[in-house]
């Protein structure tokens, strides 16, 4: 077996061998090779020293409020309800917004077209009835005026008739 120390491409074999990660056949081959290879033995010893030194480097524990700070940042990151409403795909906001806009236009038009109730004119039935009543009153007045005129013209008309007859 070629010495893995001499070949960079196979040097990882020695790393895996040190870490006991090779399959059984390769482990057996490496066992046989290392037993008689001073270079590999030296490298393995040095590598174990490195790993043991790295093991001694233990970091400090994570602070207890890590999660709380993270969730607080997530909460700040949360969009406003208005933005969520716009961006929520399941609400199909585009057609809903279109319908809402159409409704708003209809409401606006109907409000603008509604006549002023203080203005006189045809419109509601109550106004029509009021107008009819006013017309009737005017008609009555006109008829009474005519009767009065006829009453006044009556004696005069009679005098003219008699005078015409006497001639």
């Amino acid at each position: 077996m070629e010495c893995p120390v001499q070949n960079r491409d196979t040097a990882s074999l020695l790393l895996d061998y040190c870490d006991r990660k090779l399959d059984r056949d390769l482990m057996v081959q490496m066992d046989r090779h290392v037993e008689h290879c001073p270079s590999c033995q030296q490298m393995m010893s040095a590598q174990r020293t490195v790993w043991e030194a790295l093991d001694e480097w233990e970091p400090a524990p994570v602070t207890p409020d890590f999660n709380a700070r993270l969730f607080a940042r997530l909460e700040e990151d949360r969009p406003s309800w208005w933005r969520r409403l716009i961006e929520a795909p399941q609400l199909l906001w585009k057609p809903a917004m279109g319908m809402a806009a159409a409704c708003a236009v209809l409401v606006t038009v109907s409000v603008l077209r509604t006549p002023d109730p203080t203005e006189v004119g045809t419109g509601t039935p109550a106004m029509a009835q009021q107008e009819a009543q006013q017309e009737a009153e005017q008609l009555d007045k006109t008829l009474s005026d005519m009767e009065m005129l006829q009453a006044l013209e009556g004696p005069l008309a009679g005098e003219e008739t008699s005078s015409s007859k006497s001639l």
Binding site: E56, W57, P59
Partner: protein, 214 residues
């Protein structure tokens, strides 16, 4: 959201055995509780990895939060095409490398200051074996820290993922966006450097209390 997640985590945490991908798919559907479970499951490994990369606890936690924020923000587009941890460490490595590059000049000054502090610590008079042991242990940790810090960023990331997170070569390759052979090359050079710098720290030189670990 905070109170509801905390209560739900307390109720569900011992019971869940679901894989990360399944939890993340639920997060994609809007399940914030599953996101809390993922945070609990991976918080320590992410922050510890970042600490060893940037060697500052406060920065490591800040970057760690950023990792989870990015995971949450991209939940809608999550697809379980790769391992969740691979994706997560890819984000973490990206953030760490960016931070290292952005603060390179400042870190050189901090390293000098740290040497002064460490030097002062070593000059403390002998007070007893336990103090000496802890000073020796601290000195060893400092040497390890410096040796790792002096590695190029990608070699450092590869070593940390290989040693502490026990990621496979293929996973490290996905995180670093390179080939497996490139990962092996990175690790070869990194460990070669560490062996030469830490060769004097063999087992026989360690205090008795520290031997036999691992």
């Amino acid at each position: 959201m905070t109170a509801s997640i905390a209560l739900s985590q307390a109720a569900l945490a011992p019971a869940t055995l679901e894989r990360d991908a399944e939890l993340m798919l639920r997060v994609r559907e809007g399940d914030a509780i599953c996101f809390g479970l993922l945070v609990d499951r991976h918080r320590n490994s992410v922050v510890h990895f970042l600490f060893r990369m940037v060697q500052n606890q406060a920065i490591a936690e800040e970057l760690g939060q950023e990792v989870f924020l990015r995971v949450y923000r991209s939940r809608q587009s999550y697809e379980p095409t790769a391992k969740f941890t691979t994706w997560m460490f890819r984000i973490a490595t990206h953030l760490a490398l960016n931070w290292i590059r952005d603060t390179k000049n400042e870190k050189q000054q901090e390293s000098l200051d740290q040497e002064v502090i460490d030097g002062a610590a070593r000059q403390v008079a002998d007070r007893g074996p336990s103090v000496e042991q802890s000073l020796v242990a601290e000195a060893r940790r400092t040497e390890v820290r410096r040796a790792v810090e002096m590695l190029p960023e990608k070699q450092r990331a590869a070593v940390l993922m290989h040693k502490y997170e026990e990621l496979e070569y293929s996973e490290i390759a996905q995180v670093l966006d390179c080939s497996e052979s490139a990962v092996k090359s990175l690790l070869f050079r990194a460990y070669e450097t560490l062996r030469s710098r830490l060769a004097h720290m063999n087992s026989d030189a360690r205090p008795v209390a520290l031997r036999g670990k691992r």
